[in-house]
């Protein structure tokens, strides 16, 4: 029963904010496009047709409705490639954040619950990592290990734990002193039971908010690495990779660079807007 009322408040609050609805829409649309890419893409994203190279978008002179957003330097359909490109962005965004999130929540819990030397070690580690020029390290590691989906997820995931760790630790730290934890301990609950049953559920709100911003940030970093040639293998269409391929044609083929970048910006904008709203919804005090 409580669950339903909670959902009602969620929907009611959401309907009050047109901006948040837009954000949610952009977010859901990106996910739907990624999942249903084979159904939505008008053409095979890898189909090369040199006779149609650098065809402009349909709404400009010389364009045709066969290629609504035009073609690239090899005659491949830009729209189809953008649709398929959403897959890599989301797969990497979600899996890297999941890795960093789990790591961060676990370390944050340990740090906040046990305090003392455990807390000192974990938090100093977080400080040190924050002082690291992260993208440089990512570039170096990927340059040597070789790019690829798995390496990207590992590198991006291991750097994403810090925010989770710090926030969860802070919350556990203050929750630990509350009466409900004390009473749970006094009736003989184990550490594991206190952590998972009493403390962890209280951190979900902030974990969800951090996750939305983390996914948006990871999408941008992945696109940047793909742009630099350090993303997944070049045959797979990615938004960052498409912009890189279009760089040399920026004058004769502005659409090749423009549309994939717009796709990144709208996906990230949607997630950020929705994340802002979520933060206010859960707790206005979470504002930075």
């Amino acid at each position: 029963m409580a669950h339903i009322t909670k959902n009602n408040r969620f929907v009611r609050e959401l309907l009050k904010s047109p901006l948040a609805i837009f954000g949610l829409f952009a977010m859901v649309a990106t996910c739907v496009v990624a999942i249903a890419a084979p159904l939505l893409a008008p053409l095979d994203p890898g189909l090369i047709d040199v006779t149609k190279r650098l065809t402009p978008p349909a709404f400009t002179d010389g364009g045709s409705f066969e290629h609504i957003l035009g073609t690239d330097s090899l005659g491949r359909d830009v729209l189809s490639r953008i649709i398929y490109g959403s897959r890599v962005s989301l797969i990497i965004g979600v899996s890297a954040v999941a890795l960093g999130g789990v790591l961060g929540v676990v370390l944050g819990l340990l740090s906040g619950y046990f305090g003392g030397i455990v807390d000192d070690i974990i938090m100093r580690l977080a400080d040190i990592q924050m002082a690291f020029p992260f993208i440089l390290i990512a570039i170096t590691i990927l340059a040597v290990m070789g790019p690829g989906l798995q390496n990207l997820v590992i590198v991006l995931g291991f750097t994403g734990w810090v925010t989770y760790g710090r926030v969860v630790r802070g919350q556990i730290f203050s929750l630990r002193e509350k009466e409900f934890v004390e009473s749970a301990a006094s009736i003989g609950s184990s550490h594991a039971r206190i952590i998972f049953k009493h403390l962890l559920p209280n951190t979900w709100a902030s974990v969800i908010v951090i996750t939305s911003f983390a996914v948006a940030h990871t999408i941008i970093v992945e696109a940047s690495l793909s742009f630099l040639g350090l993303g997944v293998k070049p045959t797979v269409p990615t938004w960052g990779g498409m912009v890189a391929e279009g760089r040399d044609y920026i004058v004769n083929g502005w659409w090749i660079v423009t549309f994939p970048g717009a796709a990144i910006a709208s996906a990230v904008l949607g997630i950020n807007i929705f994340g802002d709203w979520l933060r206010d919804y859960f707790d206005p005090r979470l504002r930075e």
Partner: protein
Amino acid sequence: MLRYLRRRLFQSIFVVLGVTFVSFGVLFLTGDPAAVLLGDVELTQSEMAEFRHQMGFDRPWYVQYGDYIWRVAHFDFGKSYYHGISNATLILDTIPATIELAIVSTAMTLVIGIPIGMFCAFRRNSLTDRATMAGALLAQAMPTFWLGLMLMLVFAEILRWLPVSGRGGIEHIILPAITLSLMSIARNARMVRSSMLEVLGQDYIRTARAKGLSERIVQYKHALKNAMIPVMTIIGMDIGYRLGGSVIVETVFGYPGVGRMVIQSINNKDVPLLQACVIVLALLFVGVNLLVDFLYVYVDPRIRHS
């Protein structure tokens, strides 16, 4: 205060050790440092063994690491494979460009971002405020490399107001600096606005107004000073973002700095130069962050007296 600074200094030492360890460790990521360094070059078994011995890879790793730190501490960054000259020379040639870009874009962030944030806070919920904050949200969503190319397309290719790429007069730095700073301008504006709104709601602001002080003095002397404290913390983070971002921006605009050299060295399979660039940029980052920490002490009296 001394405890705070000592902790920061101590932490920086760990960061420096960590950075050197990573840039040293990349050679060992694939298991065979000799193979990483040689790239596509084919050697016979005995030549390979000779190369390993010559490079010292047959020693224990901690000896090699110690040796590496020793050389870095003496500004010996090895020799570039591709260019055939010392990495230190290559970096000394390119680093002024990177520092120049970092300074100009940091200045832009502060000079543009802070006033925008204040303006929006004073005219809260007005049309200007809403439009500016919407613009800031959009600016934070645009990837740097794409923003750079779009600015290049409009201002250099179509309007022909500014050069497409390279380094030279002030006109060469405008587009790269805007590209590098737009995201932090937006972030700073949002930070200053929300921080300012919070401060303006405090009791001491009401007291200051009640005393009959002019609105200008209340806003600038009482409110701004306190609103700047949280903003200061993100300035250090911004600088880190900027050194990383310089890799992207310098590549987009063909701007001859250390950032572009990072990508060139990857494309040329020039691992020694890559290591050298990374370590120099990282040390620069740590140094600047430490400097910001020291400045912080002067801005926030709570730290000074702790």
